[in-house]
Symmetry: C2
Subunit: 195 residues, 2 copies
Amino acid sequence: MNLKPLILASASPRREQLMNQIGLEFSVIPSDVIEDFSLALPPEAFTEHWAREKAKYVAENNPDTMVIGADTIVVLDKKILGKPKNIMDSFSMLQSLSGRTHEVITGMSILNISFGIDFTFNERTYVSFKTLSDSDIHYYIDNYNPLDKAGSYGIQDWFSVHIRQIEGCYFNVMGLPLSSFFSHYRSLTNYLNKP
Amino acid sequence: MNLKPLILASASPRREQLMNQIGLEFSVIPSDVIEDFSLALPPEAFTEHWAREKAKYVAENNPDTMVIGADTIVVLDKKILGKPKNIMDSFSMLQSLSGRTHEVITGMSILNISFGIDFTFNERTYVSFKTLSDSDIHYYIDNYNPLDKAGSYGIQDWFSVHIRQIEGCYFNVMGLPLSSFFSHYRSLTNYLNKP
C-alpha cells in the first residue's frame, strides 16, 4: 500500500467524504481504540483525549506521516451521549433531544511523531431539533442506521428535516470541523515545509 | 414521461440532491423564468416572488400536480447578490464577503393549481466567512465553478474550509431549507389527503 502524506485514523465514511470534499490526498487507517465513556473528563477534554488516542495508535506505526484523529460527541444537560447501544437506547436518545438544543463537540488531534507535532483542538456547534413525534422517531430508526452515530442521528440524511437550526460549523456535526481543521492543518504543513 | 406526484421546478443539482436526501419522490422540470434583479422588492419578498414565478411557470402545464419553486439569494449590506456575471464579478463578490457575515435567503413556493394551494415562505441563514486571501479566491475560481452559484460560492464544496460559522438552516444555504420545507409540505399533503 502506497501511503499518502496524510492518514485519517477513522473508520467514519462521513469524515472520509469531508476530507475528499476539501481536496486532500490521504489514506484511511482506522485505529482499534475503544472509547471508554466512563472517563471522567469535561466534554471538550474528553473528545481531545480520544481523538489523540486514535491518532497516536496509528501514528506509532507511521511516525513520519501526519495522522489525524477525531472524536465527536453529543452533549445534553452536561451529559455525554455517544453512539446508542441498541434500538431502545436510540429511541430514548432521540426523545431526549426532541424540541431542544444540544451541543456537538468534535475533538481533533494532528500528530507527526518524527517532527514532534502533537496538536489538539476542539470545536462546538449548537444544534436545535424540532419536536419529534414518536412515529417520526420510529420511522427514522426503522429506515436509517442510527446505531453508528453519536446522539443517534445523522444531520446529512433524512433526519435533516428535523433540524430547526444550527449555530456554528455544520461539518463539525458531521464529524469534522472543516474550517478550523483546514486552518490548523495548513499552518502545520507550512511549518513542516519551511527550509 | 411518467410524472411523480411532485415536481421540482428547478435546474439546481443541489436542490435535487436535497430532495433525494429526505426521500421524496419527484420529477424535475426546470422553468424558463429569468430572474430580473432590477425588481425593486425587499429581499424576502424578492425571493418569494421569483420562487412563485418559477413554480407557476411549470404548474400551468401541470395543474393537478404539486409544484415546488425556489429562489436563493445572498444579501450583503442590504444589497442582493445573485450569480456572478463573469470571473471578475465572482472575484469582487468573494472579496466583499471576506471576513464578514452575510445573509442567505431562500424563498419557496408550493403550488397546486387544481386544489387552490398557493403557498410561499422564506428562510434566512447567517453565514460568516473567514478572511480570504486573494490567492484563496483565485484558487477557488480556477478550480471550482462559482458562476452558477448565488454569492459565487458553494458551501458544500472546497469552499467549506472558509466558512467560519453559520446560524440557521445549513441546507437553506445549499438552496432548499429542508426542515421548514418539509413541515409545510407535510401539512399541505395531509390537508390534500383528508377525506
